[in-house]
Subunit: 259 residues, 4 copies
C-alpha cells in the first residue's frame, strides 16, 4: 500500500504555509528555496509523507499532490478561482464520475484540473477559451497534472455556441456571462445547473437578471462565500487578523424546459 | 437524451425557495402542500425540467434531484452539515472516482450521500455510527437515494478503531474528534487528509492542539466559511438581510509519516 | 448618588433579550406583557438597577434608559439605522458637545435621538424630512426622550437647500443621496464630514461616484459593517447561528475647498 | 466662520489613503514624505480644506483633525482599538457631554482621546494603566490632542480598586477583564454599562461567564464587528479584496443592584 517517489513523480514539498513547491522529480535537478535547497535525487525511494531536511536544516514534507495542489506548479496566466468558490461550484453542480462538463473561460486551467479529477476517466471536460496564450498555458498545466486525456480544450468563444449537448453542468468564468446564457441553455440537460463566477456585484446583477428574463432557468441564486482561517493557540484562539476578504460571487441556476 | 419521469422515479418538485419536495412517484399517491396538491400520476411521462400546476394553480418545476436535493426527502435525525461546509470538506479531501473514504459520525447520512456520489461505483464509503437509530435512518435515506451499494454502514465507534487501511480521506462529525485522531491516523494513506466538522470554537481549539501534538499530521488548519446570499433587484441589489450566520468550523490536516 | 424612579420617570423594563419595554411611569397604569403584568406604581421609589417580579413571577430589571433604548418606546414609522451603523457614523463624524449637525431624512427620529445626546445642550441638530407623518412621529418620539429642545425639525427637502452654514457634520438617510451633495457641501465646514447610509450596493456606487465627481470632497469611502453576536456557553462558545446579515452601507467623505 | 492654519495649529495632511500626517505647524520645519516635502510655513494662513502641492507635485489636503485622526501623530506603544470597535463601545456606553468615565488599560491613549472628545469639558475620563512607559506615552499623546485637562491618568491597577464612584460607563482593555469585574461594579452607577474589548474568543468566554456569575450585571452580551470597505468603480463595484478580518470582540453588560 505504501507509495514511493520515483523518477518522474510529481511531488509537493511543503516547508511551511507559504513555501509549497510542486516538482517533477528528475535526477540531477535541485530545488532551490530561501530556506535552503533539496536535491531531487534524495527524494527517490522515499515513501510519501516522509520528512526531509533542506540544506539549511529546515523540515520539508514530501507529499503526493491533491488536485488543488497543482496550482503551486502551474504557470499562472489569470487569477484563479479560490478553493472555497471552486468547492462550492463543483458541489452545487452535482457532477461526479462520468459527468460531461462544459467550462467557459479556462484561463490557467485550475478549475479545469479539479473538474477533471471529479468526472474521472469515464467523464469529460470541454473547455472553451478565446485567448490562445491562456489555452496553451492550460494545456501545459493539465499535462503536468496528467489529466489532459479527460479534457478537450478549444480555442472557441463559449458565447457563440457550444458543440456539446446534454451536458451535466456548465461552469463559467468570463466577464459577461449574460452573453453566454442562451448557448449554454442549449448545451445543458434539463434539471442541470449552470455555475457562474463573477468578481463584481454589477456582474451579479446583470447575470441574475438575464437568467430570470431568459425563461429557461429556475432556482436562480447568487451568493458570496467568505472564509476566515482560525488562528489556534491554547487559550488564545481567534480568527486570522488579515486575509482575503473578497474573491467573487457564485451565480447558480438550473435549466427547465422553456415555455 | 431527454429523460422522462416514470413510476418509481425520484423527483424533486420545486414550487419556490422554501417549498421543495422530494418524492418517489407512485400511481394513486398525492403530494399535498399549502400551495395545493399534485397527483403523482400527472408527472409520469413528463420530461425532467417540465412545469406543472398545483391544484391551486401554482407552478411546480419537475426536477431530477442532485445528490444534495435528497435532504428534502430524508428522515432527519441530526443536524446535517450545510452545503457550503460539505462542499469545502469534499473539495479539500481530494477524493474522486474510486476513492475509499471513512466517515465517522454518519447521523442522517446527508454527507454520506454526497460522498457516495463523488467516489462513484468503483469507490466505497465506510460509515461509522454509534447510535442504532441514526444508523437505521441513514440506511433508509441512502436506500431512497439508491446509493446503498457503495456505502458500508457500521454500528461502531470510530474512536475505538477503524477496520479499513490505506483510505484516501477521512470525514469526521463527532463531538470529540480529538479522541479519534489516532485510530484515523492508522486508517489514512500518507499525504491524505482528515476533515473534521465541529460547531464550537472550543472544539476547534482542542482538535487543532491534539492534531499538532500527535506528531503524525501536517498542514493543520481550521477555517470558518460564511455564505451570504445576494438579493438581486434591478438597481437595488444587496446581501440577504437575515440568514444563517454560523454553522460550524472545518479542521483540516494531512497525514505524514511519524518520526 | 442613587437615582430613584418617580412618577413621570422614563424607565426601561427588561425581562429578557426580546422583552424590553420603555414606559413613562404613571400611577394607576399597568404594563401588560406575555410574561405577566407590572403595576407602574410598584416602580415608584425604587432605585434604578432594581429587580421586580411580574405577576407571573418573572424577573424584570428596572433600568434608566440609554439614548438607544428609546427605540423600545418610539412609534416607528420607518426602518431605523442599526446601532452598529449609527455608532460608526457618529464616531466618524467627529461630533461632540456643542456640535451643529444637519440630518437629512429624519424618519422615526432614532438617529436624531442619538445625535442630540452627543451634541448636548450647547449643540443643535437640524433635521430635514419631507413627509409630514414622519416628522410628526419624530417630534412625538423626541419629546418622549426629552430632547426636543436641542433639535429643530423641518418639513423641508434637504436636496433643495439647507438653511444652516458652517455645520460640523451632515448625516443623510435618503434614497438618493447623490441629489443632496451640493446643498450639503454649502452647509458643511471645510474638513468636516458627510455620513450617508444606504441599503443597496447600487446606491453606494452612485453616491461614491457623485462625491468623486463633485470635486469638493476628499477621503471618499464606503464600508459595510457586520455584527455577529457570540453565544457563550462554557466549553461550547460559538457565533450566533441566525441573525441579521445585512442592514446597509456607510459612505463617508470630507469637505475640501473646491478648486 | 472660515478657520485658518496658524503657527502651532495641529494639521492633518492627507496625500492619499496610506499617507496621512498629523503635524504641529512650526515655522522652519519641513514635513518629509516619499511623495516629496512640504514646508510648514507654506501652510500658515491657509483655510482648512485647502489643497497644497508637495515638492514632487502631489496634492496634499490640509485638514483640521478629527479626534480619531490623532492616531497619525501619536507615539504608539500598544495595539490600539480599531475605529469600528471604539465607535461601537462608545455608542453602547451611552456617554455624552458631562459623563464621568473610567478606562482600564489606557495604553497609547487612542480610545482615551475619543472618550475625552465625547464627554467634553464638563466631563472627565479617569484612566488606569499599570505600565509607566505606556502612561507617559498616553500623557504625551493627549497633550498633543489638547485634551489632557479632561483626563486624569493614574499609574494604578484597575483590578485592585477604582477611586471613583457613580461613574457613567467603564471601558476596559486589559488581558484579564474578569479580574476587574468587582472593582468596576463598585465604581459604576446602576443601569450603566461596562464595555470590554478582548482579542481572543477564550477571553470572551471567561469574561462573559464571570459577568454572569457575578450577579450584579444584566444584559451580558458579546459581539464581533467586521468592517469591509467597498471598492467602487463604475460598473465594477465589489468589496475590498484583502483587509483586516479580525481585531477583537466587545463584551457588554449593565450594572443592576445585587440581590
Amino acid at each position: 500500500m505504501s507509495e514511493v517517489v520515483s523518477e518522474g513523480s510529481i511531488v509537493l514539498l511543503v516547508i511551511d504555509r507559504k513555501r509549497r513547491f510542486l516538482i517533477r522529480v528528475e535526477r540531477g535537478r535541485v530545488l532551490g528555496t530561501d530556506k535552503g535547497y533539496v536535491n531531487h535525487e534524495d527524494l527517490i525511494g522515499l515513501e510519501y509523507g516522509s520528512i526531509v531536511k533542506t540544506s539549511q536544516g529546515h523540515r520539508a514534507i514530501v507529499l503526493k499532490p491533491m488536485p488543488y495542489d497543482y496550482i503551486h506548479g502551474y504557470r499562472r496566466v489569470t487569477q484563479v478561482i479560490y478553493p472555497k468558490d471552486a468547492a462550492y461550484m463543483i458541489y452545487m453542480s452535482g457532477i461526479g464520475p462520468g459527468s460531461i462538463v462544459v467550462e467557459g473561460g479556462v484561463g490557467t486551467g485550475y478549475l479545469t484540473t479539479c473538474l477533471a479529477r471529479v468526472v474521472g476517466e469515464s467523464g469529460a471536460v470541454y473547455g472553451y477559451e478565446v485567448r490562445e496564450d491562456f489555452l496553451n498555458a492550460a494545456i501545459e498545466n493539465l499535462a503536468l497534472a496528467g489529466l489532459l486525456n479527460r479534457v478537450k480544450l478549444k480555442l472557441k468563444d463559449v458565447r457563440e455556441g457550444v458543440d456539446e449537448e446534454g451536458v451535466d453542468a456548465v461552469f463559467l468564468d468570463i466577464p459577461d456571462p449574460w452573453n453566454a446564457i442562451e448557448s449554454l441553455y442549449k448545451a445543458l440537460k434539463p434539471s442541470h445547473p449552470l455555475l457562474t463566477y463573477v468578481p463584481t456585484i454589477n456582474q451579479v446583477e446583470k447575470t441574475v437578471l438575464a437568467l430570470r428574463r431568459h425563461g429557461g432557468y429556475c432556482d436562480v441564486r447568487a451568493a458570496e462565500l467568505m472564509l476566515r482561517e482560525i488562528s489556534v493557540e491554547e487559550g488564545a484562539t481567534r480568527p486570522a487578523q488579515i486575509s482575503v476578504t473578497h474573491t467573487g460571487y457564485v451565480v447558480y441556476a438550473r435549466k427547465t424546459l422553456r415555455k
